[in-house]
């Protein structure tokens, strides 16, 4: 059985800027195995988030290939790539991106609602929130929660479908040191429990140190 879940070869991404082509990624090749935790670090503007987006199939590279779950993303349209992610990929963002008009429970139920019907969404979402210690906060709206609590809800939302891969973009970037520590502990615990592949973008070296693999991006290339 192929144990590689994500693989890239000679990934190049350029964007037009002020009439010139700006090269953001310059030939990135990497492979991530099932269940592995991988950190991608680099300075601001080094292309971390762009790489994360390409790995998850949110965008397509200018050249080179990305293979996700054994499927080459080249030639797939936006909806085909979305279908590939559905139920198998989770996301955690720096600014949480919870839906303000939804309660914590409803936010966590969202990814379940995208998939097949018939599952007991309320039960699964409640359990996920219990796991992140927010059993008492089910009906709270994001603006009634602290930053740490909001990121916990985001974690519950990311893990509720038991995804094979979790992409995390600076998950502790908006939190103070102590809360950040709590969140990262929770993240790694859940990842271990569910044997999820974790792809983590951060510039926090201590966080990166907790991952099994560590890639450093400098000016769009791995070093």
């Amino acid at each position: 059985m192929n144990k590689t879940v994500i693989q890239t070869t000679h990934l190049v991404k350029t964007i037009p800027q002020a009439g010139r082509e700006l090269q953001i990624l310059r030939g990135v090749s990497l492979a991530i195995d099932i269940g592995e935790s991988v950190a991608i670090t680099g300075l601001s503007g080094s292309g971390k988030s762009t790489l994360l987006g390409l790995l998850a199939g949110l965008d397509l590279p200018t050249s080179g290939t990305v293979t996700l779950f054994g499927q080459n993303l080249e030639g797939l349209d936006e909806d085909q790539r979305a279908a590939l992610r559905l139920g198998r990929v989770g996301f955690v963002f720096q600014s949480f991106h919870l839906l303000e008009n939804l309660t914590a429970l409803e936010n966590v139920m969202l990814p379940l609602e995208l998939g097949a019907s018939g599952t007991d969404r309320t039960r699964l979402a409640t359990e996920a929130l219990q796991q992140v210690g927010l059993a008492e906060r089910l009906s709270h709206y994001p603006n009634q929660l602290s930053g740490g609590e909001q990121q916990r809800v985001a974690l519950a939302r990311a893990f509720v479908t038991r995804p094979q891969v979790l992409f995390a973009d600076e998950p502790t970037g908006n939190l103070d040191r102590e809360t950040g520590k709590e969140i990262s502990d929770l993240l790694f615990t859940l990842q271990a429990q569910l044997q999820t592949t974790l792809v983590l973008v951060t510039h926090d070296e201590t966080l990166a140190a907790r991952c099994q693999q560590h890639y450093r991006l400098v000016e769009g290339a791995l070093v």
């Binding site: 988030s49 008009n101 969202l110």
Partner: protein, 821 residues
């Protein structure tokens, strides 16, 4: 499905969706209620017009009509009736009286009612489905008075003698000859040949009346028109408007305009709210797309929400509109039924459909572009921090909005050309607001620098401020325009119908009776001016003989067929306006004509007109053109001759008087002056007055809705910029700006924006109000600076309070949390 429904419910928590619903409800309600009201009034008008004709279609000729026309109509399944009318002498022993004889067939009238009474002072009753029996005649009360007879008398007409059985009090197609001097005598058409009155020389008018389904009537008209002989023509609903109809038509136009304004305003609110709703959904969609949501799902989810919102708004709006429409008609329904007789047309359900369509068009046009943009949101954006709206073709947005606005205008106006003109007007108006707002803000910025308003420079540069001014100005403009037009219109209507508006016309006053009659009036404290009334037929223009066949227009033909009422007096009539030339002022020659008749018959200043007045000729040159207010309830004349120029012509006198509760005076007057005929127009005056009141009530209703629409626009505009304002306040706070400073800044900015918007709106409302009054409602232009003042004051107050109220919550929040959110 249940999931889509649940998502819709969840979106309810966003103020934008609630605002969207409110904006939609307002437009649907306004469209439905106004449509409901106007369609009822319009149906009533049509019904009344049909009564005036006595049928749905009338074929008229100076010669007997071809029977083939009737056979064709009967083959189509239409009802038919015929009438023949001509002047004839009636006699009883040695007394003679000129009458207008009208012979009718058994089905007459096809539309409207005949009313009769047993004696001149007896109660009037409806004569259902009956005409005079063979050997009997009915006549107007005047004939009884002139011949000094009672019911049952035997009256000779030509070679036959008839029993005069009833008093004719109402016949449907009489109104066009209200001032006809000869009393009408109604007889059975089967008795006509025996009288031997009808000869090729008699000035008879043969009418064939048709009634039935609209499409069959149209079919008959299309078939008949090509085969008509030169003496024959079709008369349709295109009649001269009565004073009541004129009022109805104006009120209809005004209500339509009012509705249009609030729909456009609500449309602006829909644009703003749907755009900010979609902007708010942007991060959510990006997150969901990252999780694996497809574009189809995004589209389905949001389209479902929007559609459900539109349907809900339509349902609520239609119900509200129907209720409001009913309330507006509470008094009206009873009034209309009096006005049009027993068949008050049922209200049509079209307005409800119109309301629904309005909601759908509003959403399709205004929410579709942001929805498509939402669908194309790239999930990648969520990782890039700043969310950027996906690029969208400007043409798509402009195309959608323009199409939708055009659709809305068309739904209201039902006229492609008018809708197009309104669209152009709207675009020009908004463009004008945009340019003026930008200029005004730059000016404010310039002045601000001098007086030290430190924050003003920012204002001058920002498109945001311009947008706010344009939006506020549009809203205020609608409100001000409605207020001024409404007040002006109602005031000026009331002016034309003062409490002492005449309620009786007295006609047929003999010149010898003038002095004693004036004595009678002063004895009883009644004000009256007597005008000579001369019946004359126009026979030549600039010495060239004129005939009805020379004109294509039906109205022109009619005017030449019958006699006009001419007059001659010294004082310029108060209810007229001089358009061209000079009033007589001492001159003893010249003619003053009414503008409309000159246009119809194609004569004007300097043309020489020749009239045949009972065999005598009157020739003179047109020296002035007047505009006449036919709804003034004063005697009005198409042609007025110079004072003294017609004294030798055969004439009677006419006057209008206000009797009010002194109505019994009429009986005394008639007893003393038996040849005078009194026509009670009190009912018409009351009808016009109650209609004006009803319309003003309707307008208040629309006004309230426009106000709501205006407030929704205001809030929508503020809400659409809230996120930006939030960031801005956070930055200012973090830089050390205190509460008091921020409060001052917010108040200052919004008061200024409001004042600017209000002043612009006032200025444009002032201009537009006058233009509308002049072109649409036939009222005079006048300068009233109140809108400008009111606009500035109202604008600064309304926008100041709303702006502060919208942002006050953000003042309490800590800068950090503002930035984080």
């Amino acid at each position: 499905m249940s999931l889509l429904f649940r998502h819709w419910q969840q979106r309810w928590r966003m103020p934008e969706l609630r605002l969207l619903l409110l904006a939609l409800i307002v437009s649907v309600t306004v469209v439905t209620s106004v449509g409901f009201f106007s369609s009822r009034v319009e149906n009533a008008m049509q019904a009344q017009a049909r009564q005036l004709l006595g049928g749905d279609l009338v074929l008229t000729s100076a010669r007997p009509l071809d029977k083939a026309y009737v056979q064709r109509a009967q083959a189509l399944g239409l009802e038919t009736a015929e009438t023949v009318s001509f002047p004839s002498m009636a006699s009883i022993s040695d007394k003679l009286q000129l009458t207008q004889l009208k012979a009718v067939s058994s089905a007459y009238p096809l539309r409207g009612d005949l009313k009769t009474a047993a004696a001149p002072d007896a109660v009037e009753v409806l004569s259902t489905g009956q005409i005079p029996a063979r050997g009997e005649i009915w006549a107007e009360a005047r004939l009884f008075a002139e011949l000094e007879v009672q019911a049952g008398a035997r009256v000779t007409l030509g070679r036959s003698t008839f029993k005069l059985t009833r008093v004719l009090t109402q016949e449907p197609d009489r109104s066009s000859n209200l001032f006809q001097l000869a009393p009408v005598v109604l007889m059975n058409v089967d008795d006509l040949p025996a009288t031997e009155l009808l000869s090729p020389a008699s000035r008879a008018r043969f009418n064939q009346l048709f009634a039935g389904q609209v499409k069959l009537i149209k079919q008959l008209q299309q078939e008949l028109e090509p085969q008509l002989k030169s003496t024959e023509r079709v008369r349709t609903l295109d009649e001269d408007l009565s004073s009541v109809q004129q009022t109805l038509q104006r009120s209809g136009r005004f209500l339509g305009l009012a509705a249009l304004l609030s729909v456009v305003l609500a449309g602006a609110a829909v644009v703003l709210t749907s755009a900010s709703l979609m902007r708010r959904e942007l991060p959510a969609v990006a997150v969901l797309k990252a999780m694996g949501m497809s574009r189809r799902q995004v589209l389905l989810d949001h389209a479902f929400s929007l559609l459900l919102t539109a349907l809900l708004a339509a349902a609520i709006g239609v119900v509200l509109g129907l209720v409001l429409g009913l309330v507006l008609q509470l008094g009206l329904a009873e009034w209309l039924s009096r006005f049009v007789g027993k068949d008050l047309p049922a209200p049509s359900m079209m307005p409800a459909l119109n309301g629904l369509l309005t909601a759908v068009v509003l959403l399709l046009g205004f929410a579709l572009p942001p929805l498509l943009r939402l669908v194309n949101t790239s999930p990648m954006q969520i990782l890039q921090g700043a969310l950027q709206r996906p690029q969208q073709s400007l043409w798509l947005v402009v195309g959608c909005v323009v199409l939708a606005v055009f659709g809305l205008l068309w739904l209201q106006a039902r006229d492609v050309k008018l809708a197009g003109l309104l669209l152009v007007g709207l675009v020009v108006g908004i463009g004008l607001f945009w340019v003026l707002a930008g200029a005004a803000l730059r000016l404010a910025q310039h002045l601000g620098k001098r007086v030290g308003g430190g924050w003003l420079p920012a204002l001058g540069r920002s498109q945001r401020a311009v947008l706010l001014v344009v939006v506020f100005a549009t809203g205020l403009f609608a409100l001000l325009l409605l207020t001024t037009v409404r007040t002006d219109l109602l005031d000026r209507w009331q002016e034309t119908l003062p409490a002492d508006a005449p309620d009786h016309f007295l006609i047929n006053i003999q010149p010898a009776e003038a002095a004693p009659l004036q004595g009678f009036f002063s004895e009883h404290g009644v004000k009256a001016t007597l005008y000579p009334m001369i019946r004359g037929r126009l026979v030549a223009i600039n010495d060239k003989p004129v005939k009805p066949e020379d004109y294509e227009e039906q109205r022109a033909q009619r005017l030449l067929e019958r006699e006009f009422n001419l007059s001659s007096f010294t004082t310029f009539p108060a209810s007229n306006a001089l358009l061209e030339g000079q009033w007589f002022d001492g001159k003893q020659s010249g003619l003053s004509i009414e503008q409309g008749i000159g246009e119809t018959l194609q004569f004007g200043m300097g043309d020489k007109l020749t009239f045949d007045i009972a065999g005598q000729r009157l020739s003179d040159t047109v020296t002035s053109v007047r505009e006449v207010r036919w709804d003034s309830m004063q005697p009005n004349f198409f042609v007025i001759a110079a004072p003294g120029s017609v004294t030798t012509m055969p004439q009677t006198l006419i006057t209008s008087i206000h009797l009010g509760d002194k109505k019994p005076l009429v009986t005394a007057l008639i007893r003393q002056f038996p040849s005078v005929t009194a026509i009670d127009v009190g009912a018409i005056v009351n009808e016009v007055r109650s209609l004006v009141e009803q319309v003003s009530l309707a307008v208040q209703g629309i006004f309230v809705f426009t106000l709501i629409a205006g407030v929704v626009v205001l809030i929508a505009a503020l809400q659409s910029q809230k996120a930006e304002r939030r960031r801005e306040l956070a930055i200012l706070k973090s830089l050390g700006a205190g509460q008091a400073l921020l409060q001052r800044r917010i108040w200052g900015e919004f008061l200024l924006l409001g004042a600017l918007a209000g002043a612009l709106a006032g200025l444009l409302a002032l201009t537009a109000g006058n233009v509308l009054a002049y072109y649409l409602f036939d009222l005079d232009m006048h300068l009233n600076l109140l809108p400008l003042l009111m606009g500035t004051l109202l604008g600064s107050m309304l926008v100041g309070v709303a702006g502060y109220w919208n942002l006050r919550g953000l003042l309490q929040v800590l800068p950090l949390s503002l930035l984080k959110a």
